[in-house]
């Protein structure tokens, strides 16, 4: 690796300095160990290689989340002063609007990249042995990213954030109501849910400054504490097992399969992709800075067309649609059950579609992936059509 690095370095004196610096660091940090790993790790090169970049892109946007999050922490006040502090960040702090826009847009882009990454892994069948735990840790990270999104959405405490969170919590509160009253313990379940949500999540009978405090600690302390170790395990698993090639490429004879060294070849391209992603982020933040709506007024009516972020829209629409067919808590419980079963099937796909599972299972799994994309897309579009109709 040192030779590869030095090859690009034309000046001998600089090359010598570089080598000296490497030797000094290596003696103290044992860099050769990592170099050995990087030297042997390769990335398959084929017509689907483009899809290998999306995991790295998700990681890049997560890094942006951390950096911009730290800057936002310098001015943000959780609790009753939340809205005012976000207003100061947006309208008074020099380039505060840019940091906040970076944070919000990169959160959305991170979810988008994660979804692309997840589906590309799915269709390349990279969940098969020995990569099952890579799939499960990845799903865990995706779920936690959604929680990051949900908890972060409330923090500015503008009207949209307030009402969207309120709707989200109300849905959870209503679920035990699906249990018929004649079943013993149904009232207890309802009371327990209400108590738990009121005391643990909301910090009171409704969404307030106390809720912001709880969501804030979840967003900046609890979730990162779980997310970072899980991310480390996920990356270590990727390093351990390498990138999976799709079955069509794996079926090729050894001499027809091509690969490139991870370091520096793929790593350098990854860096370029990160810079391109940075430009996309900058473009979105400059052209459409993240807005701040009016301060939340708990006594006011919810704004027309209140809806969650786009990555929750499909779930929201499913619950809404089922609610129209099966009014009340039963509809919500049916929706929650469908979401739960769907998610469970998605998580268990490595158990169903194994390497030795046969072509039929492989085809069913692929069809299931396309079905999931179709349902998510349909529900999301349907949800937005409904929101636009309500907003008129």
């Amino acid at each position: 690796m040192t030779n590869s690095l030095s090859a690009a370095c034309k000046l001998p004196a600089l090359k010598e300095r570089g080598n000296q610096l490497y030797a000094w660091l290596n003696e103290r940090l044992g860099l050769d160990f990592f170099v050995e790993i990087a030297r042997h790790k390769t990335v398959p090169e084929h017509r689907y290689s483009f899809w290998y970049y999306w995991g790295g892109l998700s990681l890049f946007f997560f890094s942006v989340q951390i950096i911009t999050g730290i800057f936002l922490l310098m001015y943000y006040h959780p609790g009753d002063g939340a809205y005012d502090s976000v207003r100061v960040i947006t309208n008074e702090v020099a380039f505060g609007w840019l940091v906040r826009s970076f944070h919000s847009w990169s959160a959305n882009l991170m979810v988008f990249c994660l979804m692309v990454h997840m589906f590309s892994v799915f269709f390349m069948k990279a969940y098969r042995a020995p990569r099952e735990f890579g799939w499960w840790t990845g799903l865990g990270l995706a779920g936690m990213t959604m929680l990051f999104g949900f908890s972060g959405y409330l923090l500015p405490m503008d009207d949209l954030a307030f009402f969207a969170t309120k709707v989200g919590i109300e849905i959870q509160k209503a679920l035990p109501g699906a249990v018929p009253a004649w079943i013993p313990g149904s009232a207890f379940a309802q009371n327990m849910t209400n108590t738990l949500i009121d005391n643990l999540v909301q910090g009171g009978p409704s969404v307030s400054g106390m809720t912001v405090g709880r969501f804030f600690s979840l967003h900046v302390v609890i979730l990162p504490l779980i997310f970072l170790p899980l991310l480390t395990v996920h990356i270590l698993l990727v390093l351990r097992h390498g990138n999976a090639a799709p079955p069509s490429v794996e079926a090729l004879p050894e001499k027809e399969r091509r690969s490139i060294p991870f370091f520096p070849n793929f790593f350098v391209k990854d860096l370029a992709m990160w810079l391109i992603a940075f430009n996309v982020l900058l473009f979105l933040s400059a052209v459409s800075p993240w807005p701040l709506g009016p301060q939340a007024d708990p006594w006011a009516a919810a704004p027309d067309g209140i809806h969650p972020e786009w990555y929750f829209m499909s779930q929201f629409q499913l619950l809404k649609a089922l609610g129209e067919v099966l009014p009340g808590a039963i509809g919500e419980a049916a929706g929650a059950t469908m979401l739960g079963v769907g998610g469970l099937l998605w998580a268990l796909i490595p158990v169903y579609d194994t390497r030795n599972g046969g072509q039929t299972r492989a085809k069913v799994a692929t069809a299931f992936g396309w079905f999931a994309i179709a349902v998510l897309t349909f529900l999301t579009v349907w949800g937005y059509v409904g929101v636009m109709g309500a907003g008129k």
């Binding site: 309208n91 702090v93 020099a94 391209k269 940075f278 430009n279 900058l282 473009f283 400059a286 800075p289």
Partner: protein, 465 residues
């Protein structure tokens, strides 16, 4: 209002010009940078006896000719049509003062386009020496088209004290050279030449990416790396020239860059800052992306990577051009002509005599009528003349959205602020003064209020109780 107004819904005339201009710049600058790239590459190849470069260069020249001669020229003519419609007063002024400049530019353009065609079609048909000479002819003539148009474009931002002092006197022609070689001419020229070179490299990545790495591995590597080198001048020169350029921009207009550092307020309060941020960061990262993708692993350069590099270039160069255009505000020709086509020296007269008085595009009853319909029509004509060069009703800088939370009195206050232009008004930095008599401004107020409250359109504000 000497001309009829051009109503382009949603995007407004300003974005017809903007969209056309950004496309044109990406191609016309390639026409100049590529004009240097091709003969230089051919010269290097011939000197090294590398005939294997010739088919690649011929292929690139074909791509170059089609793109620049077809799309480049069409968008160039498109700009003429659109500026003539969107801002006829400014176009008329520029033609008036630079008619010979443009005539010379067109002569050079004719030579340039002919040389480009001859260059491509004589590949392998004439001697290498003669072919190369045709390439140099193209290179020189294309550079002079830039040289001339740069003088006119920079004049619009910074016409210089000499020309401004003579403007409207009938003796401005005597200040032609002073207007042409205005304060921002040289930094802008160096900036644009650097941009031309960068675009020559960026467009060449498309040709490099299409080369087969298994059959032309070495050639692909050399071609891609040669193309990366064309981004280096831009990377080194652009920051310095940008600072020099900004230093020459009049202080009042330079302030536009700072307005958006602390807020995300709508419109021009923040747009220049936001676009400048994108421009600087985009240009900075562009060279690094090109280095990482095309220098480190040139044989693996893929078409989608060339597209990605191009899109980053498009965004950052588009933002740069947008910033440059917006820096001219509130003028379209610095200190002479406001962006809504009103001459600086005419402001007092129009305030006295009226904005619509001499307009041949307004019906007599609309000019003086007192019925609610006539007042509304007069207000709409005022909007078309005074506002629509930058605003639309419902689209870009939509006036209905901007006034959505204002009542009749609040809209009136804004109009008064724009008319009186007190020194501490931030609007002065980017909006021209609102000209016209009190009656015309009241009619405009009525019209604007009718857009947000269509059911209540009082001709006069209700008396305070």
């Amino acid at each position: 209002m000497n001309y009829p107004s051009w109503d382009v819904p949603v995007i407004g005339g300003v974005w017809v010009i903007g969209g056309m201009a950004i496309m044109h710049i990406m191609i016309s600058h390639f026409a100049i940078g590529g004009g240097l790239y091709l003969p230089l590459a051919e010269y290097r190849a011939l000197r090294a006896g590398r005939q294997d470069w010739m088919p690649v260069l011929k292929g690139h020249a074909k791509f170059f000719l089609i793109l620049t001669a077809a799309v480049g020229t069409v968008t160039g003519v498109g700009i003429w049509f659109s500026i003539g419609l969107a801002n006829p007063e400014a176009t008329s002024t520029l033609i008036h003062y630079f008619v010979f400049g443009w005539a010379i530019e067109w002569a050079f353009f004719l030579m340039e386009i002919t040389a480009a065609a001859v260059y491509f079609y004589t590949f392998g048909r004439v001697s290498d020496e003669l072919h190369l000479k045709v390439g140099w002819v193209y290179s020189i003539t294309s550079f002079f088209t830039l040289f001339i148009i740069n003088g006119i474009l920079t004049f619009m931002l910074s016409p210089g004290d000499t020309w401004v002092s003579l403007a409207g006197s009938g003796t401005e022609a005597g200040a032609f050279w002073s207007a042409f070689f205005n304060p921002t001419f040289w930094p802008s020229l160096v900036l644009r030449v650097a941009a031309c070179c960068a675009l020559a490299g960026v467009w060449a990545f498309f040709t490099a990416a299409r080369m087969d790495e298994t059959k032309q591995g070495r050639l692909k590597e050399e071609f891609a790396r040669y193309s990366v080198k064309w981004l280096v001048p831009a990377y080194l020169l652009m920051p310095v020239c940008f600072l020099l350029y900004i230093y020459q921009v009049p202080v009042g207009q330079r302030l536009l860059l700072e307005l958006g550092t602390h807020t995300i307020g709508a419109g021009l309060f923040t747009q220049v800052t936001r676009m400048a941020t994108m421009s600087i960061a985009g240009c900075f990262s562009l060279a690094i992306i090109a280095y990482l993708l095309a220098w480190w692993s040139p044989r693996e350069l893929r078409f989608w990577q060339a597209v990605a590099i191009f899109l980053v270039t498009f965004a950052s160069f588009g933002a740069t051009e947008y910033t440059r255009e917006m820096l001219r505000k509130p003028y379209v020709i610095g200190r002479h002509l406001y962006s809504n086509g009103v001459r600086v020296k005419d402001v007092a007269r129009i305030n006295q005599e009226g904005y619509l008085t001499k307009s041949i595009w307004t019906r007599p009853e609309e000019k003086t009528g007192t019925s609610p319909e006539a007042v509304l029509a007069r207000g709409e004509m005022m909007f078309r003349g005074a506002c629509m060069s930058c605003h639309t009703v419902d689209g870009y800088r939509g006036i209905r959205r901007l006034n959505a939370a204002r009542d009749f009195k609040a809209i009136g206050s804004i109009l008064t602020l724009l008319h009186d232009q007190p020194e501490d008004s931030k609007y002065n930095a980017f909006m021209p003064p609102l000209v016209g008599t009190p009656d015309e401004i009241n009619a405009l107020n009525t019209y604007l209020y009718s857009l947000v409250q269509p059911l209540q359109t009082p001709a006069e504000p209700a008396p305070a109780k």
